[in-house]
């Protein structure tokens, strides 16, 4: 690892001041330490935020407020999460390993870097790692890359599972920065690659995620997260779907769907949702709606199978959500 200086922040103000002066935040370290060892990330200054009071998870009425430093395992096991939004627990437990879930934080999970192999291969072109160095996935290995939101500069997917559930749940982020606090949808944290895939999120310099707020809704518990992958645990999604249904006498009042593994960011499927409103919650409605997920989708040589797997995963996730006892 390339040497760097490290300071521990004792207050949120401390941390933001350090970040404004050029330090990178480090929390669980499961992405950053790994990438620093690979020299994909080379920060010369880190500010350790683990001592900040952002570890609280609480219910506020039917809403959940999840501190940014709550670990994945603590969030998944929290009784209020299991009671109010079990789909969050489900998505979290489908990700990583016990070791990683014990370290990784909820804020860090959202900001994790892509698992595109070329991002970590320093001798391969990768516009996300090194702007204007080219995209090796474009005509190389692209078997697990995105079909939605891609550009001629980048095909990499966002790897988080729980972000997919949070986007479907209309969760919001609370961030604090040099210019004060702001709140915005989790969905708006992520940028499309366009011509600048190295810019992945919309946080301003120095801004710190403080909490994630999940609004209570009519959905829980009729919500499921389905993850399709190459083995049954400890693997990133090939395609995943969070499906939420509000039903009345077998008819869909409202549906919400987001997918992972298919987009350059967690992908909300609004056209599918609209097509489901007012329809019976049966397989033919699900199949009809799921086909709309393909609008604008573009496959490369290796990931054409996702054009079938994505709608099939959505259908299955909707069935699982409908059939929650």
């Amino acid at each position: 690892m390339i040497p760097f200086s490290l300071q521990k922040a004792s207050s949120v103000g401390d941390a933001i001041a350090a970040a404004r002066a050029g330090a990178r935040y480090i929390a669980g370290g499961t992405t950053l330490v790994d990438l620093m060892r690979e020299e994909v990330e080379q920060p010369d200054r880190l500010v350790d935020i683990n001592a900040l009071p952002l570890k609280r998870l609480q219910a506020d009425g039917d809403d959940l407020v999840i501190g940014a430093l709550v670990t994945m395992s603590a969030c998944a096991a929290h009784p209020d999460v299991k009671r109010l939004q079990p789909v969050i627990s489900e998505a979290l437990l489908e990700g990583a390993s016990p070791q990683l879930r014990n370290l990784a934080t909820m804020g860090g999970n959202l900001l994790q870097r892509t698992r595109c192999p070329y991002f970590r291969m320093l001798d391969a072109g990768c516009n996300k790692r090194t702007p204007d160095s080219g995209c090796s996935a474009m005509d190389g290995y692209n078997g697990n890359h995105a079909v939605l939101g891609t550009s001629s500069h980048c095909l990499a997917t966002h790897a988080s599972d729980v972000a997919v559930a949070l986007v479907a749940l209309d969760a919001t982020m609370q961030v604090l920065g040099p210019n004060g606090e702001r709140t915005f949808p989790v969905e708006d944290l992520f940028r499309l690659p366009g011509t600048t895939p190295h810019l992945e999120h919309t946080l301003q310099p120095g801004e710190l995620i403080t909490a994630i707020r999940v609004p209570g809704g009519r959905y829980a518990p009729r919500a499921r997260y389905l993850k399709v992958r190459d083995r049954s645990s400890y693997e990133f999604a090939v395609v995943s779907a969070a499906a939420l249904l509000d039903l009345e006498n077998g008819v869909i009042r409202e549906a919400r769907i987001a997918c992972g593994g298919v987009g350059t960011k967690p992908w909300r499927m609004r056209a599918c949702e609209q097509a489901l409103a007012g329809r019976p919650a049966d397989r033919s409605s699900f199949e009809l709606a799921a086909r709309l997920s393909l609008a604008g989708a573009q496959a490369r040589s290796g990931n054409k199978f996702k054009m079938e797997l994505m709608p099939a995963t959505i259908v299955r996730a909707l069935e699982l959500a409908r059939d929650v006892p």
């Binding site: 370290g29 350790d48 070791q99």
Partner: protein
């Protein structure tokens, strides 16, 4: 750059060490404290050979900076046996021949201990999912899973 002075507890003993920012907890255990039971496998959090308990929670010590151990409690494989008396998990690993090359073994034992602390009566599926973050390239896992199940039964007094 100036070294960090870290005061921590390892296997119940108070310990101090000096480390650079870029030294991981695994580096500190092995290179500063001569506790070489935790192994460096992948160094990227994938293989679990470096597993230790940090404040009772199972983590990959290769992803934790050494300075993060300040004021915490670390438990490693070296603290598992009580003197000459092996932990039941260690004994059962020997009885079942649940290891071959042994590189993954310390991490798996620490991980299994963490599982049994929170779930004394796991199903085989629970054992397999819990150990998903500990890779073994020799055994095919079957003997490992059987050893953990057997140790759990013995520890429950079954």
């Amino acid at each position: 750059m100036a070294k960090h002075h870290v005061t921590t507890t390892v296997n119940g003993d108070p310990v101090e060490y000096l480390c650079e920012s870029e030294q991981t907890l695994l580096d500190c255990l092995r290179d500063e404290l001569d506790l070489v039971g935790a192994k460096e496998g992948c160094s990227s959090g994938d293989c679990g050979a470096c597993s230790v308990l940090l404040d009772g929670r199972l983590v990959c010590s290769c992803l934790v900076l050494g300075v993060e151990a300040e004021g915490r409690s670390v438990e490693t494989i070296e603290g598992m046996a009580q003197g000459d008396e092996l932990h039941p998990l260690q004994r059962k690993f020997l009885e079942h021949a649940a290891l071959q090359c042994g590189i993954c073994t310390p991490g798996i034992l620490v991980a299994a201990k963490a599982l049994l602390a929170k779930n004394p009566d796991p199903t085989e599926t629970q054992v397999r999912y819990w150990l998903a973050g500990n890779l073994c390239r020799c055994t095919g896992y079957d003997k490992i899973v059987r050893a953990v199940m057997d140790a759990a039964a013995e520890m429950r007094g079954a």
